[in-house]
Subunit: 400 residues, 2 copies
Amino acid sequence: MAFLKVVPLEKAREVIASFPLKPEIEVVPLSEALGRVLAEDVTSPIDVPPFDRAKVDGYAVRAEDTFMASESEPVRLRVVGEINAGDIPSLELKPGECVYISTGAPLPEGADAVIQFEDVEREGDEIIIYKPAYPTLGVMKAGADIPKGKTILKRGTRLTFKDTALLSAVGTAEVPVFRRPKVAVISTGNEVVLPGEVLRPGKIYDINGRAITDAIRELGGEAVFLGIAGDNRESLRGLIEKGIECCDIVLLSGGASGGIRDLTTSIIDELGEVKVHGIAIQPGKPTVIGVINGKPIFGLPGYPTSCLTNFTLLVAPLLRRLLGRESEVRKVRKRLAHKVFSVKGRRQFLPVRIEGEKAVPILKGSGAVTSFVDADGFIEVPENVEILEADEEVEVTFFG
Amino acid sequence: MAFLKVVPLEKAREVIASFPLKPEIEVVPLSEALGRVLAEDVTSPIDVPPFDRAKVDGYAVRAEDTFMASESEPVRLRVVGEINAGDIPSLELKPGECVYISTGAPLPEGADAVIQFEDVEREGDEIIIYKPAYPTLGVMKAGADIPKGKTILKRGTRLTFKDTALLSAVGTAEVPVFRRPKVAVISTGNEVVLPGEVLRPGKIYDINGRAITDAIRELGGEAVFLGIAGDNRESLRGLIEKGIECCDIVLLSGGASGGIRDLTTSIIDELGEVKVHGIAIQPGKPTVIGVINGKPIFGLPGYPTSCLTNFTLLVAPLLRRLLGRESEVRKVRKRLAHKVFSVKGRRQFLPVRIEGEKAVPILKGSGAVTSFVDADGFIEVPENVEILEADEEVEVTFFG
């Protein structure tokens, strides 16, 4: 084990890209598809509407029967039946005949137009027509809305209510979506207790466990919070083993510097392999990446802003890849609200808040909860840069 | 019963506002609070951090002991103990003493500064200090991050992962949120079948059931899809009674014109009271609003775009009120991409798609599924307007 042999961020990303995890497809009922990401293109297996359909309430006619109709010489057609929406059309229209039809009902054989009630007069079992109807008048042709075979939704679409409605329209009851990766989240540190517990002297409430768990859920992944491991080998090893067993990925947060960091590294080394001992970025130097039984395990820094920054840089892209959401833009260009100083030779990520077209640096330090709560994301200050001037254009990466 | 006595939209909204439904508060565990809307302001019950805390790994000192330190005349302090994060600080620092302390650990009594390792020399059980430390150096004071009693989140906040993390930081285990209104969704029409079923001649797949159900879920409500009622009284009455029993609100969609509309009106009249028989807008004329056992029931038009437009105009605002999300902006100002014609004397809502700064009218007709799928929302054309010119400013209301 080479402790604290830090690698560049790119190297850490290569390691993550090499993990044997691939997007997987599962089929869910349409009723559970909302918000999921489509794993395949969907084409319509049917014409919508599936048949020539009345667009209005009225009379279905053979248009040619009406071509000679005029105010002075109206045409009379005999009403031979009635078709309502949902009826199976059995009758065939012969010359001189028409049928009472309701909106949405299928046109009978022979008919090619629907004249609305308002435009005819009824007299006994006849209607009187004063002007010609053209073929397709009052009709929605089969497939006019969606033709059979048309691609209606693309792989990678995050399904909204409009998309699920569209799938319903073409009769799709089962939807291929990307399986949600399952992520175990473990908090560490003797000082950390869970909300609701009594806060004894020297203790603080856990922040990262909740932040990471819910950030994963917002991303569309499944998160399982396993609780807090104290600074002892058995407790931490037990939770890591549990995480590896139940989940696809394990995330540890907090205490990644100092004692717990060494402990984590040593346990990963024992159960699997440590791939990255630290990353040459700030914050993130103490980030550990390993693999156990082919499953990635990340030890993220303890300070909330540092933890979230490294989650955003390393873990979120992996989750997005598994969820088929790689192409989503999570960056925006803004102008720096004021000058910031950095340390030469350090690749730094600074939390910023977005205000209109400005990115406002947050300088409370990564130890403050409020600095991560106030921040929308972060900007990168490269190694060779010491000063970013006010109004300089910067790229803001959103947290999560 | 006065059939087809249409009322203005404002009157329909007054009727809805008068329904005896109020936002209700429920308490959920923090682990289930993500995405919910906060029903009360939250103030911090504790100082964060709860104690003066070391920001770095180093030595806790009494700053005044170091005031005389210089390169030429360094100060020596005796290391009398070690405090790690999570330790309960029992010891009190006396003049001339210091304590080995790790990041996040509570300062011992008497200490008011932490000098990091890099800035001192260790010699046996002593450290050598070459420059003065000032009080608060290397220390985060109790409450510096979040003072006790501070309002940290406002009523009406839709909780993101940053908010739940903040709640965790102050130890809140139970969160007061607005109860999700439960809405029963019923599709109607003899022509309608569910996705996955065989499509027999004359039938089409249900669209509105899915669209409404998932639109409610996206809004944050709970939707229960009860299935399809055919055009017969028993089936429809049975589902309406079921909806009134299990839910806060009942929505019927489809078939609201013609036969089913009359049937719906007559069943509401039998079980409760019809409040609105139609609204003087297009689409929406056949919309029915009633109340059964104090619970609102809506009969929405059958065409998908008409159904969604009326859902957006009438039902979504009610749901948002119950969910504490009334203040959310769902409108945007754009310029019309091309001229559109309307009918004088008709208050019309036209579906539009947003493209950059343009609102592009969708003119496929409300019978097409694709017209509602392609649209982002709608614009209103008042009664006295016949033509909206290209480039005119319009207000687009988003669907949902």
